[in-house]
């Protein structure tokens, strides 16, 4: 369970942080209506813990209006990646926070409408001046009313005013791609108003999030930081005995394990229900367990109270091999980096072994008492994404299809026969409103088959797609086992009439090795040729992870010319006969 360190720890630690040359960097601005000293320090330390170099700017006390309205402000000069706007209920309501019923219902409605418009106006101006993501805290609903127990018998009451403001804020910003609302009211409810708000600190220095809870607050904000940096986790790897059910199936037997009908068994069922829900939104599940295959599989397929079944797992390593080599196999089979995995195991020794050998895996400290497993899972802020795409929802299904492909591959005589049998259909299309979020997502998280690893936010892709000097394309790949969705992206710069440069070219690792990349590149070359272009230039920018793309251009027939790989469009291209390519 989440047990935060004290603020003093973070303040001390932040002083010892050395600037380091991290691959990932983030710039954060905090705009607040009250004292938020200390928040910067906590965020910087939390970022350094996950190897992100973080620069922060805390705007002066209650200066958020000036910072947003003035184009020359420090806020815009700082050029943040993410901005937190934290305004509290008291400062919005002023005198009415205490005496809301001094004015009529109509006036109260009007006041809330005005406050809403003020904030929306700030958001609009902010978005027009900055590329930063904006996270706005919603408002705490007061738990006290001078009307006491008849507050809820009152038309447009104090509480209703704040609920209404929160709802309207949400509805007005629901389709703003770069603006997000943090449920601060929910945060206060979760940790308790009496903890989060401390009267002594409030009077001492207008502190409205108490020092003890500032680290918890920062932890919630880190959910946004992690998703902006695309370091969210994609896969949960689970142990079985005492993790998914109580007891040891090899010893207690099928009927002896705790799952469902007693208090302890219920805690495991609920844990599984939450795991299924994560699976349905795109988190991949896998098993890494020391067990007899038959014993474990009997529970997974036949136990009446199992929620997770075989179909939910993209990979099952149930054997007596060591967990470390199982992890490496899972990573290879699923084509997912170890740093995208979260590991749940009840055994502290196993956890320590994994932590020592594979520190890139997030090994969760499960509490001794299984009744707190659920809470531990729900408190992780590592699965957040800024957008859930159709591909995310279908991911579980796609991994099952992938297993069938592997089966087919095992039975095929050679690669050509295998590829022909797959009936691969590639649809190439230009970026549009529907595909822009997915295209951005792919540029942000594709590490392996990625020529240049240029990362682009949705706004960037939207701008590129309108630019006549650029082509932004994406590809959907289907085969006889199913639809992989949009899994490829390319961005071309039209330098001039005779020369184009490949700015980005990437494929999701799911579809590497099927000749699709050659088919797409062929299409780009044919298109260039049609427009009279003589030369296509490309670059491979090496990173720690993109080795799979290293030889792509030379293998296709590009030749080295100074810093670039170059292809003359009059050179013949080897056709990918097994692909059916459709241009939309």
């Amino acid at each position: 369970m989440l047990d935060e360190k004290k603020l003093s720890y973070y303040i001390g630690k932040s002083k010892t942080l050395q600037p380091f040359d991290a691959e990932k960097k983030i710039r954060i601005v905090i705009l607040g209506s009250f004292t938020l000293n200390g928040l910067e320090e906590v965020l910087r330390v939390k970022c350094s813990e996950i190897q992100i170099q973080c620069n922060t700017y805390l705007a002066a006390y209650n200066q958020y209006n000036q910072e947003i309205l003035n184009s020359q402000s420090e806020l815009y000069k700082f050029s943040p990646d993410i901005t937190f706007l934290i305004i509290d209920t008291r400062s919005i309501l002023g005198e009415l926070f205490f005496s809301p019923y001094l004015i009529s219902i109509e006036e109260r409605k009007k006041l809330i409408e005005n406050k809403l418009q003020d904030i929306l106006n700030l958001v609009k101006i902010f978005c027009s001046k900055s590329q930063s993501k904006l996270v706005i805290c919603n408002f705490t609903v007061p738990t006290y009313s001078p009307y006491g127990i008849i507050e809820n018998k009152t038309q447009y009451s104090l509480q209703e005013m704040v609920y209404d403001l929160n709802e309207k804020l949400r509805h007005n910003l629901i389709s703003e791609p770069s603006v997000f609302i943090f449920d601060f009211n929910g945060f206060v409810a979760k940790y308790g108003e009496r903890n989060v708000f401390d009267y002594r600190q409030y009077f001492y220095g207008d502190v409205k999030i108490s020092f003890d809870y500032l680290p918890y607050f920062a932890n919630e904000l880190m959910g946004y930081v992690k998703s902006v940096m695309s370091i969210n986790k994609k896969c949960i790897v689970l142990d079985l005995d005492n993790t998914l059910w109580g007891g040891i199936v090899g010893e207690d037997g099928f009927n002896g394990i705790k799952l469902g009908n007693d208090p302890l068994g219920k805690s495991f069922v609920e844990f599984q229900r939450h795991l299924v829900a994560l699976h349905q939104r795109g988190i991949i599940l896998a098993i890494n367990s020391k067990n007899n295959w038959d014993d474990a599989m009997k529970v997974i397929s036949d136990h009446p109270n199992m929620v997770l079944r075989e179909k939910h797992f993209a990979c099952m390593k149930i054997n007596w091999d060591d967990k470390i080599s199982n992890f490496k196999d899972i990573s290879q089979e699923l084509n997912i980096g170890l740093d995208s995995m979260v590991f749940f195991d009840d055994d502290p020794v196993n956890r320590e072994i994994v932590r020592m050998n594979l520190p890139e895996i997030l090994t969760v400290d499960l509490p001794q008492d299984p009744s707190y497993y659920v809470q531990t899972l729900l408190e992780l802020n590592d699965f957040h994404v800024l957008k859930i795409t159709e591909e995310d929802k279908k991911r579980g299904e796609m991994y099952l299809q992938q297993q069938k492909r592997i089966e087919l591959g095992k039975n095929a005589k050679n690669l050509d026969e295998f590829l022909k049998k797959l009936d691969i259909k590639v649809t190439i299309k230009k970026a549009d409103e529907f595909t822009i979020p997915r295209i951005s997502q792919l540029t942000l998280k594709t590490n392996q088959f990625n020529l240049t690893t240029h990362r682009y936010q949705e706004e960037d892709i939207r701008n590129f797609s309108k630019d006549p000097k650029k082509i932004v394309g994406c590809t959907r790949v289907e085969d006889k086992f199913g639809d992989n969705g949009i899994t490829g992206v390319y961005i071309i710069n039209k330098d001039n009439d005779v020369e184009w440069t490949i700015d980005s070219f990437l494929l999701s690792c799911r579809i590497i090795g099927r000749g699709v990349e050659y088919g797409i590149l062929d299409h780009i070359i044919q298109k260039a040729k049609k427009e009279g272009v003589k030369k296509i230039k490309g670059k491979y920018i090496p990173t720690k992870k993109n080795k799979p793309a290293e030889n792509f251009l030379p293998d296709f027939g590009f030749t080295k010319e100074n810093d670039f790989w170059v292809y003359s469009t009059d050179k013949p291209v080897k056709r990918q006969d097994h692909l059916m390519i459709k241009i939309e």
Partner: protein, 65 residues
Amino acid sequence: MPLEQINDYSGQESIEGWDSFTMYVLLDEIETEFKVQFSLDEILDIKTVKDFKQCLKKHGVQIND
């Protein structure tokens, strides 16, 4: 800051970075360490290390001067 440079008269004047915020963080630590809680009134009067000691004594904590 080395320990031997801190004395009873250390405070806002002599310690760089001692402001109302860091003073409260320090207060928070001291309250947790000695399991006491000062009133707002008492806090506002604390300007130096000596003031902290006096406050602690008032709350029944044994202090070696």
